[in-house]
Symmetry: D3
Subunit: 137 residues, 6 copies
């Protein structure tokens, strides 16, 4: 059967502060600038979840998109949406909440949950001008 | 001379919490739900600034767009971008930071600064699914 | 209090055939071309619902956006989404399902349901290249 | 019959130089900056053409969108697309090719051609960050 | 010569019903939910056609984009646009018209037609929230 | 450490003429059609710059996005924005300014400047309907 990738796009809104508590205030300011505002700032994040698999001849689907959406919402979105990435999200605890670290954390949670499809890529947009891609490497 | 409206789009990222300190926690929860997260959440805001005026025959412009951008950045964006709307923004002090209240506050600051053009409309997007419009009425 | 307009965007996917049963096949072909395919075609519709009102000082809202979304979904979207506009939608019965007629029908249903706010405009996109606006006139 | 506005979006790509030949080089540089590059620059323009009228009960249309597209292409787009606004476009001759002047010129050509509908608005985007609106006033 | 990929985006509007005629009505309802509406529903599809090849030093092109567009329109779009994917499209006959099956069918038709370039990827959007990718594997 | 790709999007507006000075006028017309307008035309270009690297545990970054933006602006955008690709851009001299040739030229300039990250992909949009990808092969 053909190998097809299917992508579902989800959204969440969150606050964060980018800083490393192991560093001095001056070093944090130098490294993170306005992203280090102690009173937080926030974003509308967009997450593209791509899974890959053979097309099931019975359904014509790689995966039921409703199922994929429900898994991503249950495992990721409810923990991220309208939250503070530094304070409210258990799986980001102890991690600098950059887009890079966030996409890797999302991968680790979601990858075991989409079988028999395979998680192939996560793309996470933080603003309309930048995004990160992670493929589990 | 023809009367033309010209719109410049600007963006900022901010954190906020939607709640009314005069109300009980239970009432705030009932009214504002997840927008009332005490640890904040945030958005990528998009602001469309529309000014109207006659076209200047010397320049073919209603207003120099670079000037309009600089005014909007100086008066609004530097005070809002990477900030907390509840804690960091003097002109939002004492105001519930809903999109409605924010667009009205932006109008009051910007309207006197765009002469001889006239501020005609502000459109403020909080997410890709909703926006508010204010025309100074 | 300031008068602000707030817009919520909703989406639905539907099939339709544009034709007038009172006319001959030849006249329908002449008027509607490929939109008259007897086996139907379809669209991803996007509906922008704009209501206007004074900002409530208790909430900072014109209307609770969650309420507006629920009303629009209950009154419009559940009747339109994944439906055939010619066959499945009671409020389009006997009407040629053009974008123009659809936006007017949506207005008539939704306008009485958004009080104390006032329905100010509906914008309905049928493709990314065209949309209709209706303000109840 | 209900009064509905319908908008068709069209696109064209053009080169231009923003300068006023009646002014000195220094004054042009001061007024127009990098837009005054003597070797030209260019844009992907997007034009939203809005006409308004009563819905025809025979067709459910304000205007046949195919007709509107053909009129706008014949009157405007073929004269603008892949052209130089300063050198190639008769109806821009002697005019500084700002977005403001261009939208007014387009209005004057198109307004008499859309009867029995009425040209209600032109919106012209020059970049994704700014646009002008003209309603014939 | 450098190996570059070039992508042309095309659009079509179609109706479909997602169901498997070999299964019972109850099983179809369980598998396909509202996508199984017997009176059809529809979408605005967006197809991204990516071909890859060396840049021709004579033209600076991998392929003439006008040629690529004409091939894709002749082979795919005219058979899909304003059609019913279940009833009107010969190359989808006997196939459940999911996005996955549709993108594979498009690949099989288009891949032999773009030489000397090589068809590298098809991306097919069914809504703004999901898309499928196929690379011929 | 995880290997993540991060993409920054930049924009520039430029004029160009697509033609090969080594060919006759007739041959240029045949090959390039309206893109060969001797008075130029232009575009709003969008450039997606993707770099790849391990996430730095000290910052949570692959690269500081502000640094990446400054490098891309200094090396590419200031030389391209509001310029004529045939006349004003030293690194395009002697090259037919197609999107393919432009993306390869941008790669050659930018690739040595993003260490220790690695330039992984450039995507260059010339219109909203087509783009090219180059990965340095």
């Amino acid at each position: 059967m053909p190998l097809v990738a299917i992508t579902r796009i989800l959204r969440f809104n969150a606050a964060h502060r980018v800083y490393n508590p192991a560093l001095s205030d001056a070093e944090n300011d130098r490294l993170f600038g306005k992203c280090n505002n102690p009173n937080w700032h926030g974003h509308n994040y967009t997450l593209e979840v791509t899974v890959e698999g053979e097309v099931d001849p019975k359904t014509g689907y790689v995966i039921d998109l409703g199922d994929l959406k429900r898994v991503a919402e249950r495992e990721l979105i409810v923990h991220l949406d309208h939250k503070n990435l530094n304070l409210d999200v258990p799986f980001m605890s102890g991690t600098i909440p950059t887009t890079e670290n966030l996409v890797v954390a999302c991968w680790r949670i979601l990858a075991p949950k989409v079988a028999p499809a395979r998680l192939a890529k996560l793309r996470l947009w933080e603003t309309e001008n930048h995004y990160v891609d992670y493929e589990g490497r």
